[in-house]
């Protein structure tokens, strides 16, 4: 009888422990998921911000490159201002062959 009593105690305590551990595990997993979601969200936001800044940066770089190109070595003498780039053809001009896709008078 005594043995049975101790067995019941052990099984009972074991069950509670297992159940508590299970709850803890579930809780930890949910927390982990929440943290993970939070990370993803943050990461996504960061990515978006990064992409936006990249686009802005790209745009700025492109404009800077455009304004600083040394075109005077080519077919044109180039003057820059904030509002317009003026390219004047040099005497000896090397024509560009027509592209496959072209915009022209319509």
């Amino acid at each position: 009888m005594k043995t049975n009593k101790w067995v019941k105690w052990v099984v009972g305590l074991g069950g509670v422990t297992v159940f508590t551990t299970f709850l803890q595990l579930v809780n930890d997993t949910e927390t982990a998921h929440q943290q993970n979601d939070s990370y993803r969200s943050t990461a996504a936001n960061k990515t978006a911000e990064f992409e936006n800044s990249t686009n802005d940066e790209t745009m700025r770089q492109r404009e800077q490159e455009l304004m600083s190109l040394d075109w005077t070595e080519g077919n044109w003498d180039v003057e820059y201002s904030d509002e317009v780039i003026i390219a004047t053809p040099k005497e000896r001009n090397y024509p560009l062959p027509p592209s496959e896709n072209r915009t022209r008078r319509s």
């Binding site: 455009l66 024509p95 027509p98 008078r105």
Partner: protein, 311 residues
Amino acid sequence: MNEKQSLIFNGMGTTIKAEVMACKPSLDWKELIQTWFATFESICSRFRRDSELTKLNQSPVAKLIPIHPVLYDVLQLAFQYAMKTEFYFNPFVGTILKNMGYEQPFQKRRAFHEYKENENGYRVPSNKSLSFFPDQKAVMKHINEEIDLGGIGKGWSVDKAYRLLRDQGVHQGVIDAGGDMVIWGDSSRKIGVANPFAENEDIAQFVISAGAVATSNILYRSWNIKGRTFHHIINGQTGKNPESDVVQATVLASHVSEAEVIAKILCMLPAQEGIQWLKKHFPKAACIIVNKNGQLLITPSISRYVERLVI
């Protein structure tokens, strides 16, 4: 399935080229856009006797006139641009063009007749020249001048063709109607700007993956009557051919219709003035102007559209 397909056909008085990455085998995109351009021309050409536009031009003033929804939409946009540009862009130049002898498609012209000055003088239209009734898709004219959609129609129809294809899942392509073009997708393309002084050469080239481009030029579609040269671009504020040092204007914008309207206006103004005008009225657009001396005037805003520029 992603397959590169292309199509070339004649329409709208020019050659129309399209190249797309078609993703649905069931989609007959060629039929779709050929039908679209043919439909648009049958509705909006002022050279067709049976077009909706011709019927509108022949209708009396101060009368409610129901019109085809396509004509309604393009007319509404044209009128919006007319007001935004203080009628530099003016769709009411049909009568003037007729008086200058431009009565038939340029490709079919034989000889241009004598130039007839407008006996009543020229009056700039106003925002009250045309009323719109959206519920009925109807308009009411308040002036007699005929409407010509030559400065916007092609661009508008290219924009619409692009939307038709995009809505069918075509995620990449280019549509080019005589140099007015839309490019979309992720793939970069090299686009040449024809040299107005030597059509078989490019005067500039740029690399672009998405955007709208249109070019206007005063040398093409020009004609001579008794020693006097005329061309198809009319300054809507004067009713006359503009006197400008600009020979050609290429515009990059968010829509082809907008690029086309701006390109026309840049051919009306002195080059430097045009640059200022563009910055003030369409700051997000960009241009490459060629003047009579062969100089290029390029706005730095071109960096919004192009990845690379070669001159």
